[in-house]
Symmetry: C2
Subunit: 361 residues, 2 copies
């Protein structure tokens, strides 16, 4: 069939003709590899870049294919930034706070302790200064980054012993991610950076005393309730947790504009769907965890106040010594101060109403 003739026929009136063949048969063919920082077993976070890959393939009629590779398959869990930066892979899916030791400003691409909740963060990222500042930071590493998923508010972690005061944190060995580890260190704890697969055995053997990972659904998959029975909230360290899709900058720049727009949009769709999926799977997971013996505990107010004070100190220390960090921190904290009162009025007053109404039904 002559495609040029086919196109000429398929104006608004000739919709039936559109059924024949692939609409994008003449588009350029691309094969990319995407390295994830997560194992396949954590299916929700692992699936975020798969949503991108599926949409990109569907929309291009299979012309643009992205193959997804679990942590360790092509590069180590925490090696995604370097691999994309060096073009060892064209793209990757990760959490930017894994790399804060290399570039502290990257924590703002994920979250900071006592930071904005998920919707507040997304508003800052998409319509405040967040996205442009973060993409500026990532350009220094030769990477184009897009938000690609969010965990929502996380839990405060699993503890083998109850936490009654700040003294209980002194000397405690805890698996705690990224920048929050610096805060935990400030209050006398001993933070450990351990990938997903090693948390359970470390807790079981007593190498660590406690661990935070994500939330009910993912924590259940790691089996953490079997080796530490107290499950603490709120998750002061991660009230939101943005995932990122990294693309090697040269590879991105070489794409036709249609493919660039497609990737950006697919990451936005994956951001929405991944958050929706976590919100869908966590309610049943927390019921199963509690049903099998996990004990929910709220951190004492004194402990939360101590962690808040330490968080502010650490944020201000980095802000004083790192210009990129300061630029992001100033934007982030001003936005948080501005958006929180509206959420308290509009969203929280509604959530409280529903909580009360359902209880008294």
């Amino acid at each position: 069939m002559d495609r040029r003739k086919f196109v000429a026929n398929s104006t608004v009136g000739g919709a039936a003709a559109l059924m024949a063949g692939s609409a994008f048969a003449q588009s350029p063919e691309i094969r990319w590899r995407c390295a994830s920082s997560y194992p396949k077993s954590l299916d929700t976070v692992f699936n975020a870049p798969q949503i991108v890959a599926d949409y990109v393939a569907k929309v291009t009629g299979g012309k643009f294919q992205i193959s997804l590779h679990a942590a360790g398959e092509l590069v180590p869990a925490f090696g995604v930034l370097d691999a994309v930066s060096n073009a060892n892979v064209e793209c990757g899916h990760t959490a930017s706070f894994f790399y804060w030791g290399k570039d502290p400003s990257l924590v703002f691409d994920y979250t900071v302790p006592f930071g904005m909740n998920t919707r507040q963060y997304m508003a800052w990222y998409q319509y405040g200064e967040g996205r442009s500042l973060i993409q500026g930071s990532m350009r220094d590493h030769g990477i184009v980054s897009f938000a690609c998923g969010n965990f929502g508010a996380q839990m405060g972690g699993w503890f083998r012993k109850e936490i009654k005061s700040m003294a209980d944190l002194k000397g405690m060995k805890m698996r705690i991610g990224g920048f929050s580890g610096a805060v935990f260190s400030k209050v006398g704890g001993v933070p450990q950076s351990i990938p997903a697969g090693e948390i359970y055995p470390s807790l079981e053997r007593g190498v660590i005393d406690s661990a935070e990972w994500v939330g009910p659904y993912d924590d259940e998959k790691l089996g953490l309730s079997k080796v530490a029975k107290y499950y603490y909230y709120p998750g002061w360290q991660e009230g939101s947790g943005q995932l990122s899709f990294y693309i090697n900058q040269q590879k991105f720049e070489a794409l036709p504009p249609e493919y660039k727009a497609l990737l950006e949009m697919a990451c936005q769709a994956a951001t929405l769907l991944t958050l929706n999926k976590y919100d869908h799977v966590n309610p049943a997971a927390i019921r199963r965890l509690v049903g099998s013996g996990a004990q929910l505990k709220a951190f004492p107010k004194e402990v939360l106040a101590g962690l808040y004070k330490a968080s502010k100190e650490v944020l201000e220390e980095y802000s004083a010594k790192n210009e990129k960090f300061k630029r992001l921190y100033d934007s982030y904290r001003q936005y948080q101060a501005s958006i929180t009162p509206w959420f308290t009025l509009g969203e929280m007053s509604y959530d409280r109403l529903i909580e009360d109404s359902l209880r008294t039904k």
Copy 2:
């Protein structure tokens, strides 16, 4: 240039070659018209289908164009369902609760009084039964529908007099949307269905005593604070508000699969971005409103309890007499009962922590 040869050259290694020409030059050309239920002045909600149109055009290199038309331009504000159903336009952007008189089950494509908050609703829509049940309802009208934006939690509305008890609602004429009007009627009020542009003059002339529209940003645009000074919360009638992109089913079925996937994905991107945009613009709007004299008031507990009781009664009345409504209501309320405890634990405990922390800083 021979495009077939061009494609053959543009494999993974030949990225530079991809820069030449449009990647989708051979795709079918489509021109669609989209009728919005909203005026251009409400820029955030009006822009939701524009996000879809922009992405669809960018990704297809201009081959698939959707032109956007404000309420009244092609069809009246509340005529979008009929216009899409009858293929007077190929697609539209609207809120399904406008049509609950025609099909009560459509309220679940928007929200119900005392319903789920935005993230809870989205989880039900995308991963619970929501989407498939709603799309089933819409098929009866010859329409394929996709979520396309969300207002977030709304405010309870503008009142010329203070509300102190249920007695104050008796005989009150209020502009209140869709199904919530039936609840308002149940408690003795007189609900009025009035499009955006007529709310201000109706309040000014005393034709109505009160009006709820959306939230700070949109309400400010309508000028409501100038004609009714008490701004009530929480927005019991709309704790979330999903917007919908309607597509005539035959027009949709005639699209190539690539364009179908593209539309679905673009609507997901627009859902995320429209919610983010509202969350971005509302904080400054509420400050401006309060700064210019609007008085924030919480509904008395007695009034909320009365409205909750009336809401349940109305929902159950429709459920008893309408099978489609019942199927959706059963799924919706079970999901709400299941997801709310997790949100109270994970999200609300975090939001309370931040509210307290920022206050004591």
